[in-house]
Symmetry: C2
Subunit: 213 residues, 2 copies
């Protein structure tokens, strides 16, 4: 009775001394745990249990708990980025629809993975000290800037585009947090999310845009 249960990614008693894929399985176990219990209640020990290794094993792959959590955060940022890029393709270049789509994906990600989203932002302030995280975040923001510029028919991003991209980002970021924090009751925000996104996109980039197409 060697390999009856083929449950992928988690636990499965192994017959070999070495695990083979521990690093990524730890990240996955951590991701799940962060969603289940919240980023603050996560423990490395439990991730070890789920990955089926001893509690000392992670430290062959990660310096400490925070490095493991950063890996999860980084993977989250990349997931969010990919989702945004994927959604872009459904809309015509240079249209408000693209802006709205990016915002929609941003918030959808926060709602579907609130634990990881909190990890990506809310938790510790020292994310700024780690280049991989900063660069991944930057590259996503660059996409927003370029989309804004495209709305005005530009291929080069000008300061006013950056300004507007930042307004959009701030708004969508805040909306994401308030949503997962449960502050968004019907009483406070009567409209549908989609309508709000369109409204904001119009207020920020729609005013002076060329809407010929």
């Amino acid at each position: 009775m060697n390999r009856i249960m083929e449950n992928p990614a988690i636990a499965e008693k192994r017959d070999s001394y070495h695990h083979g894929d521990l690093r990524s399985q730890l990240i996955e176990a951590t991701r799940v745990l962060v969603e289940e219990k919240g980023p603050d209640r996560f423990s490395v020990s439990e991730a070890c249990r789920r990955a089926g290794v001893s509690t000392a094993a992670p430290y062959k792959h990660f310096k400490d708990k925070e490095e493991l959590l950063r890996a999860v955060a980084l993977a989250g940022m990349e997931r969010q980025r990919e989702q945004m890029l994927a959604e872009l393709s459904f809309n015509e270049p240079g249209t408000l629809g693209r802006i709205v789509a990016m915002g929609r994906v941003y918030i959808r990600f926060a709602v579907s993975e609130p634990g990881v989203f909190r990890l990506m932002f809310g938790l510790s302030e020292d994310h700024a000290e780690h280049d991989e995280l900063v660069e991944t975040g930057d590259s996503t923001f660059c996409v927003v800037q370029q989309e804004v510029a495209k709305c005005y028919g530009r291929d080069v991003v000008e300061p006013q585009d950056m300004h507007k991209a930042f307004l959009l980002w701030s708004f969508v970021h805040g909306l994401s947090f308030l949503t997962i924090d449960g502050k968004l009751t019907d009483r406070k925000m009567p409209s549908e999310l989609e309508d709000v996104l369109v409204d904001v996109a119009r207020r920020v980039v729609g005013q002076d845009m060329d809407v010929s197409t």
Copy 2:
């Protein structure tokens, strides 16, 4: 040599068995620690050391660590609220200046107390289950709604005012988080904060407002 050092709020070796003011001193010690180390690296033990009591003492006043942190978060929300109300009085009723002032205070609070600000929002999602926190947050948001309504000469808040208040809140909230997360480099946000606030206030409430005064 009984009471030479009159250092208020922290530590001072006491001669009586009972402390007298432990609850509020624990909250204060926690607040300081949360700022110093971040909300995730805070420990009750260290707060005890600073307050000069045993590690078991807090549990006569708080059910657990989270209840202590919630008390700090609540105090923060009340501080933030008071600062906003105080700043309001410097501006004429029914003007954009009032809206801008509230946003300015919101962000100023986040920047000056990022640890507590994170505690108030980013950390755990179960804040919504605690009435005191929800009510304090609600009452602050009500002020924003009323200020928006006043901008249109209304005393009663209408749905469109709530909508706009929510847009403002989302934006300022997101801007606060991005700022304390260090995402706000000059490259991304070339303008001054004050200019951005005015810009947003105009975009959200300034468009169709009565600007007779």
